[in-house]
Subunit: 418 residues, 2 copies
């Protein structure tokens, strides 16, 4: 895990040392659409709503919002309505825990589910660094399995479960980003989702469904969330407003099924953990989110429409640029066409590590993210993640051209030296 | 620990069932002084400052603030200046970690310092529930010792260290609120602070100094913080803006000494933990705090002056009311005179538990907090904590009169039945 810290330090160092480099390394949302001032304004409509509900003045409501508050959050009913409208998820307010972004939700899940030394998580490799870190910090092991096409994924998962059992481990939850995975950008098909749920039911394993990118689909038909397919109270669904609104709010949530953990209900255990991690999520930030949800009639589709168009255009631009610049290497260089989300993955005909990141940034002025940084095993040496979210079509054209020059030069040199 | 959850549920239930009861149970800051609107306004002065510093527009600064940001925080330099002015603490910005309130700082400390099964914390009993919870959640044991007068405290601590060693445990840090302790309201004397630091140096134990109430002294001479006495890089100092400004900002911090933990620097390890708990503290909330600090020339003394006068008056009112209503029981009922903070402690001539909390709330209309809820051992059955922060002189007069009637009735009944 020290490795992972070094990796992030290394990437930050690269970004600092080569500030002119075009970065496809970070999956941040596009800043141009943040409308903080308007969002703060809409906090007032939430305050008015509360004042009416409580039969008191807005001034008193404002003061009470500045105070400590309910550990599980105060906008659970509004999030519940948004989930119904935007995601087709039907959930009672009291099964929602408001958290400091989705990272805190992941941390709380790990700490609540993996209390014993033998409790482990299951995760695909490569996977999101945040869950790897939460597991490390929570002293929970991860048993990983390779990504695979279709039902191959379920077979790989089954093997991982068997392997965990063989090691005397107890798999407690499977972590997945089924829609537009970070880092791969891939979507898990409906029949595969169902098969995963069935397999997890068989082994009494929970599913931790992380869905930060679900609202950002650029083509194709939406696949139902695993939460909405769950008739077994098995899925913990984790969401965030960091991508739909902005990261600085630090508001996310977990949708928690009714289920016993130890002597108490899972929700109760998670609320207790939350109280010891951060007492409660800023009511101020919650009021901003609440105000936006109310003013948008519980759907973020409208707010998301502009960044969504921007992300789609960026993705298309990146696919076009890859097509153009790697036309002569189609048999050696491959990439996927993600239907949504912030990332695509390019597979190169050679290993790509720290020294390549550095040469790319230094000599070619483009920063990319090796997939090995996300790997839980020793694979993925040849792949890189390209984020197209917080950049522009111009930079994408330029950046992919630079990246292509690096790849061509590298292959030429290898050819010359080989 | 399930007990502690039940306790909080029980108290919340009491507050809900008897909403007319006067509450001395919760140590919340006084809401009347929250000035959220003005504080949000002052965020703009922070933005202007950043814009000037970066040579860019305020609009671009505002957008970048709404984004993810540096894990350790962006207002470390401003907090460093405030610590120098208000607390006499001299610390470089890069030794400050901005956190989601002080609770997250405690959680991160526990998780960073206590990684092995045998690592334990040391704490006085009774102690703040937040550290008990953080230890529970971090699967770190606590070895406790009784509060004691003067150097008796150091002797008790020494015994606890010996006892921990005898159990094969490794005490990693001592948790203390040296100024106006929660729950007792007590202050640790200067010579005792020095002796504690010397003892901890002898056994290579860190000190976790939690100081939420330091700015609220009503009489007597301030005692230097343990951090400012620390010439051995041994004290982690934890602060918060929850009491000086308001809890809804959820901004706190840890001042971290230069010290190795495992293979890396303690600060580095804590920053990594922070990234896996909540990525970074809301830049939006940090900008509000930053703006207030700048507009106040790096001192919160002025903002704190009004609530401080209010708290002092409430404390005096409570002491007067206790004097009046327990005049006939001076040999049986005792209380302390805290020089600051939010709490005082009353010792009764009988055990005070859940059933008494309930009877007090139901039949006498006053809610108090048994000290046993804070105890790490089986003592403290006879003491209660009275919070005088978020209430009024009128309610204090009325509430202490009610509490006194309960105590008198209880003693009469005991006398009659005995």
């Amino acid at each position: 895990m020290a490795v992972r810290l070094e990796v992030m330090n290394f990437l930050n160092e690269m970004a600092e040392r080569f500030p002119a480099a075009i970065s496809f390394a970070s999956g941040r949302p596009a800043e141009g659409f943040f409308d903080m001032r308007a969002w703060i304004e809409s906090m007032h409509s939430y305050e008015e709503h509360l004042a009416e509900q409580r039969g008191t003045s807005r001034e008193l409501v404002e003061r009470s919002l500045a105070q400590y508050g309910a550990t599980a959050g105060i906008i659970r009913n509004l999030i519940s309505r948004q989930l119904r409208v935007d995601e087709g998820i039907d959930v009672a307010s009291d099964r929602i825990l408001v958290t400091v972004g989705c990272q805190e939700a992941l941390d709380i899940c790990v700490r609540t589910l993996c209390r014993d030394e033998d409790d482990v998580l299951l995760a695909r490799s490569p996977t999101y660094i945040g869950i790897t870190g939460a597991a490390y910090l929570g002293r929970a092991g991860i048993v990983s399995f390779r990504e695979a096409e279709g039902l191959g994924l379920v077979a790989a998962l089954e093997k991982a479960i068997e392997s965990a059992h063989a090691q005397g481990k107890r798999p407690r939850a499977l972590y997945l980003i089924p829609d537009f995975d970070n880092p791969t950008g891939e979507v898990i098909d409906l029949h595969v989702r169902r098969a995963i749920l069935a397999l997890c039911a068989l082994h009494d394993i929970l599913v931790l469904e992380d869905n930060p990118y679900g609202m950002f689909r650029y083509e194709g038909t939406p696949v139902p969330t695993m939460r909405s397919l769950d008739d077994d109270r098995r899925v913990i669904y984790v969401g965030t407003f960091s991508k739909t609104l902005c990261p600085a709010l630090r508001v996310g949530y977990a949708v928690v099924p009714q289920r016993a953990v130890g002597r108490c209900d899972l929700m109760e255990a998670m609320v207790q953990a939350k109280s010891f991690v951060s007492v409660n999520t800023s009511q101020f930030a919650q009021a901003v989110v609440g105000g936006v949800l109310m003013s948008q009639r519980y759907s973020l589709r409208d707010i998301v429409s502009k960044p969504l168009a921007h992300y789609r255009r960026n993705r298309d631009e990146m696919l076009d640029a890859l097509d153009r610049h790697f036309a002569d290497l189609r048999s050696q260089v491959h990439w996927n066409r993600p239907e949504g989300g912030f990332f695509l993955v390019v597979e190169l005909p050679f290993d790509f590590g720290d020294e390549h990141v550095k040469r790319c940034a230094e000599a070619y002025g483009v920063l990319v993210m090796p997939l090995r940084y996300f790997a839980l095993d020793s694979n993925d040496g040849r792949r890189v993640r390209l984020a197209f979210s917080n950049t522009s079509p111009e930079k994408i054209r330029d950046g992919i051209s630079r990246f292509s020059r690096f790849v061509h030069d590298h292959l030429d040199r290898k050819g010359a030296s080989g």
